[in-house]
């Protein structure tokens, strides 16, 4: 029942709004028409019925048209509007038709459509396709709360709903929230102390600056980007072989840390290879176009795989930069958004010219072993290059030697002479093998980046009928979708660089909005547009449209400065609110769309694991490099691999490598690490703009029983109990603060110490059990096994608290 009540609540909210103002076509009407009518009366000409489209007013098939002297919609008159009649008609005539899968309109929806027609049935361009204008900062009743524009926009909405913002969160919460949001790691106890004792007025701002300067900031930001572009370490189809793309990941981390302006960040990825003298970074970034799935040679027909790859590439551009589901137009005009198949294949034409094969190469050779597929560039340093040339020369020398000896063999008449020479030849050949091996081994240590590279002559592109690779229709030229601002015509064939420039132009209505919305989502758990992957007609109406436009416009004004944007947001009073509320408030607005409190949401799998490593003292903070394989349960890969998959069997790394941050974890698309996927990490087969957040028993099992997680708990427990000068209460406080950034109160202290005492007595009585838990640990002086076992469970318990896995 609650669901129903809630539905009515939210609906009432939007109707209340419109009772005060006039009906807003985009907010109130378009979603109804789009959901229920556009499939047959929308932008797609393919199945259009009765020569009527309701997505626009004018034109021979627009909503104001007449057919047999009857108006579809007559502004101002419901009695003359066939639409009004049809949505109220009986079973034979009702719209949507009774036998369709669409539901009938609700009474509320009918009421609002009635008012809209009576008020003149005004159409408006779809908001997301109109460039953002910087709106005036609104006036609010409570002028005291904050002067920041962000807060004014938020407060205006709160005041309209009769709500008040919460007070500022306490300082422990603030430093924890900021550290987790900006670096993906919790603050250390020392950092907490220093922030608590800093009473200067700008202490918060300086904390923000410090966090944005940490290299862990780039690692954390990269995590979100890598979901969006489906970065992974395997090809994702058929054998699901290894692929080496890690220089791209390193570049993303560096780019965020260096605060590369977002327009360049995007341009490097779309077209980095097309700069006149591209830098390594620009080339590496162009590997964005290579992150799609790749099939193995000898299975599908290459033409089919070629098309599939290009569609995948364009889909990625659609999700990441346009925030639209352009892939819907592969087979037919988009049913809801004004994207035609022609629009799609015009974009396709920019990305169909890779100078490389659409499949993996054969199994032999170093490329395969190294997970590479041309085109790629070597990122050798000067000294590496020199060494490589030297090794190559050593190879060439023996080769020459061999051909010289072969000559001698041919010339030698005497059999005995001939056999001596042949012996020499054998030796030389062995030497060649050895030297080639040396060269290969060394070459394998040099980083290489798969990149985008244009073929000299552009491939023609065609509309593919019904998306079939072997059914080409009309030829199309490279161009932007017709419903968006036109590309500048520079003469000649347009390039991906022109496309990138078009994306980054001030008039583009989507690029900045889509980007700022994702950064907002990262900090509040939900975007201003909740469907951050879809800004189209079927996407969600923004909770704060003006705020979104304010952020987008100031983002462009700032020169696409990402750190400045994040700082602007986290400096706001909105962001700093306390997240405590009454159960009733949580029920009314579970996702905090109105921002009447600080947001509270479960952290992503990577952050949960990294927090565990960092707080237990095990984290290996090395930056960059190849992917690593922390242990996982046996048999997961072999259960899905083929006998000749490369790699087939999971072999865990050892030593310090297994404690690196999760952004470096090896990602097999066919079976990603369960520690990540159980907590909603995507498979990285498709581009994901927002992760889902569930709460399941499998997650509870993971956090309780994962062996590495338990070892981390034991490590922290051992360090804690080793300090014999501390009382149990002190130790508890230290552990609790390390993990949660809070101090335990007397109730918590009592509960936990009681548990430790109980468990210690269990373990004292059952030494075998204690031994099992402490296996492999060399006990510090004065520490008993029962004590370590009990404290390990205590630390693990704190790791399993809801507040530990939640950013509050």
């Amino acid at each position: 029942m609650k669901v129903i009540l809630l539905a009515i609540g939210i609906l009432a909210m939007s109707i209340d709004c419109s009772a005060q103002q006039t009906v807003n076509f985009n907010r109130d009407i378009r979603p109804i028409l789009s959901d229920l009518c556009f499939q047959c009366h929308g932008p797609s000409g393919h199945d259009r019925q009765a020569e009527l489209r309701l997505d626009r007013a004018d034109g021979p098939d627009g909503a104001y048209r007449t057919l047999d002297e009857s108006y579809a919609i007559k502004p101002g008159s419901i009695s003359d509007s066939a639409l009004w009649y049809r949505i109220n008609a009986d079973e034979d005539e009702v719209m949507p038709p009774a036998d369709s899968a669409k539901r009938p309109l609700t009474a509320n929806e009918k009421a609002i459509i009635k008012r809209w027609i009576e008020e003149g049935a005004q159409y408006a361009d779809f908001w997301a396709f109109v460039p953002p204008q910087k709106p005036d900062t609104p006036t609010v009743k409570n002028g005291e709360w904050s002067q920041f524009p962000i807060d004014r926009f938020v407060l205006r909405r709160l005041e309209a709903e009769g709500l008040k913002p919460k007070q500022q969160a306490d300082r422990r919460t603030l430093i924890r929230r900021l550290s987790l949001d900006l670096t993906g790691l919790p603050p250390t106890r020392r950092e907490i102390r220093s922030f608590l004792s800093d009473t200067s007025a700008d202490s918060y701002e300086r904390l923000v600056d410090r966090l944005l300067d940490k290299p862990q900031y780039g690692e954390h930001m990269a995590k979100y980007w890598l979901d969006l572009v489906r970065f992974a370490d395997t090809n994702g189809i058929h054998h699901d072989h290894y692929r080496e793309m890690t220089p791209y990941r390193d570049w993303v981390i560096r780019a965020f840390n260096q605060n590369l302006p977002y327009d360049q960040f995007a341009t490097y990825q779309l077209a980095g290879d097309l700069y006149s003298e591209p830098t390594h970074d620009q080339l590496i970034a162009s590997g964005f176009n290579r992150l799609h799935l790749i099939i193995d040679r000898g299975t599908a027909l290459p033409e089919e795989s070629f098309t599939r790859n290009v569609v995948d590439r364009v889909t990625a551009v659609g999700t990441a930069f346009l925030g639209l589901t352009v892939q819907c137009a592969v087979c037919h005009d988009h049913k809801y958004d004004p994207i035609t198949t022609k629009d799609f294949y015009q974009l396709f034409a920019f990305f169909n010219n890779l100078d490389g094969t659409p499949e993996t190469g054969g199994r032999s050779g170093t490329d395969f072993q190294r997970g590479l597929q041309p085109p790629y560039v070597s990122l050798a340093s000067e000294s590496q290059q020199a060494k490589l040339e030297e090794l190559q020369q050593r190879v060439d020398e023996v080769k020459q030697e061999i051909s010289r000896i072969e000559q001698q063999v041919n010339e030698a008449g005497d059999e005995s002479v001939k056999s001596t020479i042949e012996e020499k030849l054998q030796q030389a050949k062995q030497e060649l093998e050895k030297r080639q091996g040396e060269r290969q081994t060394f070459e394998a240590t040099i980083p290489v980046a798969m990149v985008m590279k244009e073929k000299a002559d552009p491939r023609p592109a065609h509309i593919l009928r019904r998306g079939a690779y072997d059914n080409p229709g009309e030829q199309v030229e490279r161009d932007s979708p017709a419903f968006l601002p036109p590309m500048k015509n520079k003469g000649g064939i347009r390039t991906r660089m022109d496309l990138a420039d078009w994306f980054m132009s001030d008039e583009h209505p989507l690029t900045a909005r889509v980007a700022v919305n994702r950064f907002w989502q990262q900090l509040f758990g939900v975007g201003i547009v909740k469907t951050s992957e879809d800004f189209g007609v079927q996407g969600d109406w923004p909770s704060h449209p003006d705020l979104l436009d304010h952020l987008a416009a100031s983002f462009i004004e700032s020169g696409w400065d990402v750190k400045a944007l994040l700082k602007q947001i986290v400096m706001s009073a909105t962001y700093q609110q306390a997240s405590e509320a009454t159960p009733d408030e949580f029920e009314k607005d579970p996702e905090n769309r109105l921002l009447s409190r600080g947001s509270r949401f479960r952290m992503d799998s990577e952050v949960i694991r990294d927090q565990l490593l960092a707080t237990s003292g095990l984290l290996n903070g090395d930056l960059y490099g190849k992917s690593v394989k922390p242990p996982q349960p046996a048999g997961l890969w072999t259960a899905v691999s083929m006998p000749s998959s490369y790699p087939r069997e999971f072999k865990s790394d050892t030593g310090e490598k297994v404690y690196r941050r999760s952004v470096y974890t090896f990602w097999k698309r066919g079976m990603p690490p369960p520690q990540m996927t159980i907590l909603n990490a995507p498979s990285r087969e498709v581009c994901i703009a927002r992760r889902e957040r569930t709460n399941t028993p499998l997650q509870a099992l993971l956090l309780m029983n994962e062996l590495e997680y338990l070892k981390a708990a034991r490590h922290l427990a051992h360090e804690t109990v080793a300090n014999r000068t501390l009382t149990p209460a002190d130790r508890l406080a230290a552990v609790y603060e390390t993990i949660t950034s809070k101090l335990p109160d007397t109730d918590e202290t009592e509960d936990f110490l009681k548990m430790v005492a109980d468990l210690e007595s269990i373990y004292r009585d059952n030494t075998q059990l204690a031994e099992q838990l402490c296996e492999g640990v060399e006990l510090h002086e004065g520490v008993s096994m029962a004590e370590l076992a009990a404290w390990t469970l205590l630390v693990s318990t704190i790791y399993n608290l809801d507040i530990t896995k939640t950013r509050g």
């Binding site: 029942m1 509320n108 027909l301 079927q538 159960p583 509270r600 048999g635 509870a700 031994e771």
Partner: protein, 499 residues
């Protein structure tokens, strides 16, 4: 609030015309359901008023179903790699006379082929296997299925299946999720989402994969977790893939040094402090966490109970044949499937790979058939003996068929077959399906469907239909579209096979 009530709430999402903001609701629902679970199981937390507001009123009046269901469970035996329909189901005795004859172009009609046989001549390879009429209706059964042959009266053999993709990966993704492109929700996830849970302690959708092949691993193709993924649906609906070694459910067991008493003591303290935090913070999600931790504790008992087959009577174990002794065999997985259905699991999908017989088919096929014949026959017998077959729809299918023309060496008793999407065979049993029939026909080359075609989406629609679900109405809004398992093309329930 009983578990059946959970269906009501879910079904309302797509039934109730009053819901405008469905998307929000779907996502909240996840937490909500766990919360209700929590309320039900622990009795802690919210007061009576709040409790009432969380539960559907007049829930008995709401039906979860679009129509009366014929089945409650599905066991899908997925033959990954594509078994040869010509050698196993689609009997074409007259092909023997056409040995090594070229396939007429009037039959192949410019069919797309794979990279493996492109540009090669297409010579007919008749099946070397004998077929016999079996059961009361005398349907044709292959000699490689001696045990299944005895179940002929329960089987509905469909010889007119067809699909779009010609390569394994997209074809498997298509049959498992209704789309060739990754990212959609799988069959079991849809059913879990649409019909909800029938049990308290186990997942709705469980996946079992074979780890043994009598015929060797030469043709074993890769699998992907997307084949049982939840796609855009909340991930609680994804298939739980049971492991054949170690914990059947990942991270199920307490680590060494932690026994059940210790875990209980830990959870008591954990729950207490979490509850305190709920009182301070107010976020009901904290209570969901507590509920899920308790559910995890219960699963630590219920899952081992499920997978421990030592209590099965010998005569039941014997039904499944000698391989049942091996954990991870197809036979063991069939036995487990029966135990799961018994315990209220909605959808069980068993993956048996290794059917990709491009060459030396006669050497490889008998082993594959040995793996599945007796166990799948036993599954039908066992379900029936326990009164479960009426409620359980058993489906046996691969992702496509194989060509009548040979790939590689061609002898009477040595040949191979390439991928063939235009026709393939599947069988269904139980769950309101007519037994002892064969449905649909192909031409004399087992190449094109000539009568009663059944597309993959028709199979999906039929499965949903038997579970009381109208495939057109089971929808989820994602990327601006009302997504459904059967996609956007028209799909038909195969009425001709319904009992």
């Amino acid at each position: 609030m009983d578990v059946a009530g959970q269906h009501d709430l879910q079904s309302r999402h797509y039934q109730d015309a009053g819901l405008v903001v469905m998307r929000d609701l779907f996502e909240q629902h996840n937490g909500l359901q766990a919360r209700r679970q929590f309320l039900k199981t622990s009795g802690m937390g919210l007061g009576v008023t709040a409790l009432a507001s969380l539960l559907p009123q007049n829930s008995a009046a709401q039906s979860a179903f679009h129509h009366t269901p014929r089945a409650k469970h599905v066991i899908f035996l997925f033959m990954a790699g594509a078994p040869s329909q010509i050698d196993l189901f689609d009997y074409k005795p007259q092909l023997g006379k056409l040995f090594k004859e070229p396939l007429p172009e009037s039959i192949s009609m410019g069919q797309r082929v794979t990279a493996m046989t492109k540009g090669k001549t297409q010579l007919v390879a008749p099946s070397k296997y004998q077929f016999h009429r079996q059961g009361e209706n005398g349907i044709w059964m292959c000699e490689l299925f001696p045990h299944l042959s005895k179940k002929a009266d329960d089987l509905c053999i469909i010889n007119s299946m067809h699909t779009n993709a010609i390569n394994h990966d997209p074809a498997k993704t298509f049959i498992c999720t209704g789309s060739e492109i990754p990212g959609k929700a799988s069959m079991g996830a849809w059913l879990s989402y649409g019909l909800g849970s029938m049990n308290r302690d186990l997942p709705d959708f469980i996946v079992l994969t074979s780890a043994y092949w009598t015929g060797g691993t030469r043709n074993v193709q890769a699998l992907y977790s997307r084949l049982w993924g939840s796609g855009f649906l909340p991930s609680k609906h994804q298939g739980a893939a049971f492991q054949t070694s170690g914990d059947p459910v990942l991270f199920l067991s307490n680590p060494n040094g932690i026994d059940r008493d210790v875990r209980r003591r830990m959870l008591d303290a954990l729950g207490q402090v979490n509850q305190k935090h709920f009182a301070e913070i107010g976020d009901p999600e904290i209570q969901t966490t507590v509920a899920q931790q308790e559910m995890a504790f219960r699963m630590q008992a219920s899952v081992p109970e499920l997978t421990d087959v030592s209590g099965e009577p010998q005569h039941v174990v014997d039904l499944y044949g000698p391989e049942v002794q091996k954990n991870g065999s197809f036979a063991r997985n069939c036995l487990l499937a029966r135990r799961m259905v018994e315990r209220g699991v909605r959808f069980v999908q068993i993956f048996h790979r290794g059917w990709d017989h491009h060459t030396i088919l006669p050497k490889q096929l008998p082993g594959q058939c040995f793996d599945v014949d007796q166990p799948s026959a036993a599954l039908l017998t066992d379900l029936k003996q326990n009164g479960l077959l009426d409620d359980t729809l058993v489906v046996f299918a691969g992702e496509f068929g194989r060509t009548v023309y040979c790939q590689g060496k061609l002898e009477r008793d040595d040949y191979g077959r390439d991928h063939h999407p235009r026709c393939f065979s599947a069988w269904m049993a139980g769950g309101g399906i007519k037994g002892g029939i064969s449905y649909g026909q192909t031409d004399e080359f087992s190449y094109n469907v000539v009568q009663d075609p059944v597309a993959v989406r028709d199979l999906h629609a039929t499965i949903l239909h038997q579970l009381g679900v109208d495939h057109k109405k089971l929808v989820f809004p994602f990327q601006g579209l009302d997504q459904r398992l059967t996609g956007v093309e028209p799909a038909q329930v195969v009425n001709g096979i319904l009992a």
